[in-house]
Symmetry: C2
Subunit: 543 residues, 2 copies
């Protein structure tokens, strides 16, 4: 027997209409690429979205199911694209501007983007690959300076596109299972793979991220969206904020620590999101030059790569601002887990609390996570038994775009994350490694990430990464790559070994310690271990 | 083009499994009907649900689509029924124990309940109507005392039903649009009407009520569920709490103020829900006998009937505990609107803030509300223009059970609430009246609810209700029915008129003031205006 509740499809247009109806006066603020400040309301945004939808359909001839690319920083125009493109039944394909040009070319051709909306500052990247791009009919330029020119063909300025276009537009009716957006994984191995989000998954993810156990977003908040809009839809915040009536502040490309601190202060931000690299930069800058007035920042959501727990500790001790650790992937929209303390943890001392907060956290409603042991059985939730994490749920990828490759899926349809670790009896997941980043030494697994965290806890170490290097006797051995906090303040490998011996068995310690000025990172700011392994192999990393 | 996200139906079983997996040690505490305290974990509850599901299928022969009634107070067994019945694809039909016996009989026969799970204390009600009930094959008795006996046929004690039943059970696969629960409206006019909730609507409603803008529920909370489980699924809290990892405390029938205060204190409750009558009782009892230790209660969600703003004011001033006003109906699952202040309101003084908090509040995501004027046009959101509220959304009724009567729906499919009022430019809805409770005097509408609130603000008045009475000259005129706070402290009609003249025009004031010992209430604690009109007509209300 069916229930007798209304048919009410969950779409991004429902979010947009909700925000404009219920929170018409709430603000979206952009610090534009050229540094000027732009402010308007949800109601204004809604009107522009209608014009944009009109232009997409009637000027550019975009049809339901078409791909429309974005190649842009975080600002209100990019938010408009997040709503207007799905609102006509097309797919908002956010292209990661930090990939290698060859990857960008691959992605655009693979997606078959018909139009690309690009920030003027990013046009040079597109100009380089333009001859190889086969499907794009128009480039729409955002934030173009006066006298802008380009070698790209078929250029239209965003403002011109919207000129003489009516605000009257009837949204295209879509099924909630229809695609609304697409994002390619950064692909540390092989070509990037597309994840095609549905209206339903996007809507539900927004509801999920609003929850108090997750990002806890309400109409009292003013949120700095640091995560680039070309990364997993900025963690879904541009949808979640409209659904919650939270004000959004978009920093475009102003991700430098001083610029971030200025925005946090001047815009009276109380919540923010971002990857560890960003928060590490902000923390270091604030240490050197403490803000005169206390920031209003109440907490920051941090994730996207392994988190040095000393960062959370330092930020809270020095500035009274707690970080909330979260985990997810492009394939999971990204919300997977969030680590907040529960009331039972209030009795624990700071160190014990910090240990819990450093974990990836508990899985959110609408997803399920399990740790699968090497023998294929499910690891018990005992905080000890290691397994590879698999995830399924309402906003988890079912298949990559245009591929039938099932390598990333279990036989019963769960997505294999490639992350390895434990789940404890309170439900907290802890990633100890990417499965391919484990060091297998003499038949034993050594977690490179745990080692990295431990080394980075040394006061003289700024960054540390551990990779597996081939070893004739043990198969593999760990090698530590170190960036000193101050190059005049050396810490030797022997000193580090002594430091680490408090927490590790000696066989688990790196044999070699290599000092570098900076650790190579991927386009999304993660330690690029593939690159480090290559450097080692080619003799570029010498102890 | 379809998105490529996993097929993952949203069902009550997903909620149950999530809670047991992620928050296995979280507690459900019941103060049983006989006063004893029962405590167990989400994990224990999950195991019992599996046994119960097994027993429903294999001992009682319940099939998917069958109706299973509950006739019970708030306790863990009733929570088990909330999950186990939908978990086998059947429908959990919660019967309002406070209806008239003839209505209860109608509801059971109309729903065609095959089994009823009844609290022992409520069995006498069922015994009276048993000969007229035609479909029930078994009565399962909850919380039976020793030597329990009854004239009902086919009785099984709950404990016996679960005896020798395995915890191994594969949940029945359901579609998310399948029915999971049913609740009849209390029906102030005509027979009660059934609202058939789906798995999808129930799941999404739970996510909706968790949100910070709504009830704001997290795994830090311990919540007293005062709203009876036979009223709109206790506002969805037994689902929301499991999804959020919040601990639940269930008071059975111990709704008396002193019992409530004892539970609030002893169980360290930090959040609670309930109707104004309950909170008024608690407030009065606390005023008379202030608790020695400050309650840990951080806020209470209050709704279900018109809210005297003096209650919220008094509770906060005297005990530092804010009330959060919410509005909904059986037909809306019930979450419609919630009234919380936004950051912009922080600058306002107490009186202005209170005025906003007294409104019904802003509509939640997944529902849409509009005010429709008498001429059929949509009222602007200006805080002035009055219209009848209509609502649609993902957890709003599409049709009543077994009826094709469309009287309650607009031509374009919105549900007509029967409530009348305004929406302001910040999105706050304010109900001034039930459409049928407006007093139409000389062609002008007078809001009975606004009058009631104003009269109840007088310090000597405990309760006041206003009804329309026929008037030869004006068509209708308001009549006030008054309960004094202390019968030795009289306030005359003339004194009340003077008091009211500060806020009303003289034609808006009641001509007659009738003093009674108590105001007749409906089974759900609302002023029973139909009954008062009858009493007036039959000369039982004399000024």
């Amino acid at each position: 027997m069916k229930g007798q509740m209304m048919h009410y499809p969950l779409t991004t247009t429902v979010i947009l209409e909700y925000g404009a109806r219920v929170f018409p006066k709430k603000k979206i603020i952009s610090i534009q690429p050229n540094g000027t400040r732009h402010e308007y309301s949800f109601s204004d945004m809604h009107k522009t979205c209608k014009k944009l939808a009109n232009a997409l359909v009637n000027k550019l001839g975009i049809q339901p199911g078409d791909m429309v690319g974005t190649f842009a920083w975080n600002h209100h125009q990019h938010v408009e694209l997040y709503y207007a493109i799905p609102g006509i039944g097309a797919v908002c394909h956010t292209i990661n501007v930090r990939l290698f040009p060859a990857q960008i070319e691959f992605i655009i051709n693979h997606a078959e983007d018909r139009v690309i909306f690009a920030d003027a500052t990013l046009v040079p990247i597109l100009e380089k690959i333009a001859p190889l791009i086969t499907t794009v009919e128009h480039f729409i330029i955002l934030n173009a300076p006066e006298n802008f020119s380009s070698t790209l063909n078929n250029i239209i300025l965003y403002e011109d596109l919207l000129k003489n276009v009516s605000e009257d537009f009837d949204w295209v009716e879509v099924d909630e299972h229809d695609a609304c957006a697409m994002c390619y994984t950064s692909g540390t191995t092989g070509q990037p793979k597309g994840v095609l989000y549905s209206h339903r998954s996007t809507y539900l993810h927004a509801m999920g991220i609003i929850a108090p156990n997750a990002a806890c977003i309400s109409d009292k908040d003013r949120i700095l969206i640091v995560v680039p809009q070309f990364h997993v839809m900025a963690w879904g915040f541009p949808y979640a904020c409209v659904l919650a009536g939270a004000e959004m502040v978009m920093p475009s490309l102003h991700f430098q620590p001083d610029a971030m601190i200025k925005i946090l202060s001047e815009e009276k931000i109380n919540k923010a999101n971002g990857v560890p690299t960003i928060w590490m930069g902000i923390y270091d800058a604030m240490k050197k030059n403490p803000p005169k007035e206390k920031l209003l920042l109440e907490e920051y959501l941090i994730g996207g790569s392994a988190l040095p727990i000393s960062l959370i500790e330092g930020f809270e001790k020095d500035f009274g601002i707690p970080g909330v650790h979260a985990w997810g992937m492009t394939e999971t929209s990204p919300l997977g887990t969030v680590s907040r303390l529960q009331s039972k943890h209030e009795r624990l001392d700071d160190a014990a609390q910090l240990k819990i907060r450093g974990k990836q956290g508990i899985e959110c409603p609408c997803v399920e996570i399990r740790a699968v042991k090497e023998d294929g059985s499910i690891a018990p939730r005992d905080g000890k038994t290691i397994g590879e994490f698999e995830i399924r749920g309402v906003w988890v990828v079912d298949n990559y775009f245009k591929t039938n490759n099932r390598d990333s899926f279990s036989e019963d349809g769960w997505f294999k994350t490639g992350d390895v670790g434990t789940i404890d009896e309170d439900g907290y997941m802890e990633i100890t490694d990417r499965s391919k980043d484990l060091v297998k030494s003499g038949g034993e697994w050594i977690s490179s990430v745990v080692l990295e965290m431990a080394i980075m806890a040394h006061p003289k170490v700024k960054e540390a990464s551990v990779i597996a290097i081939p070893d004739a006797k043990w198969g593999e051995r760990p090698l530590a790559v170190i960036v000193l906090r101050d190059e005049n303040e050396m810490v030797t490998g022997d000193e580090l070994k002594q430091f680490l011996l408090r927490d590790f068995l000696s066989y688990q310690l790196p044999d070699s310690y290599v000092y570098v000025n900076s650790i190579p990172k991927t386009s999304v700011g993660k330690f690029d271990k593939k690159e480090m392994r290559r450097m080692y192999a080619e003799g570029e990393l010498n102890a």
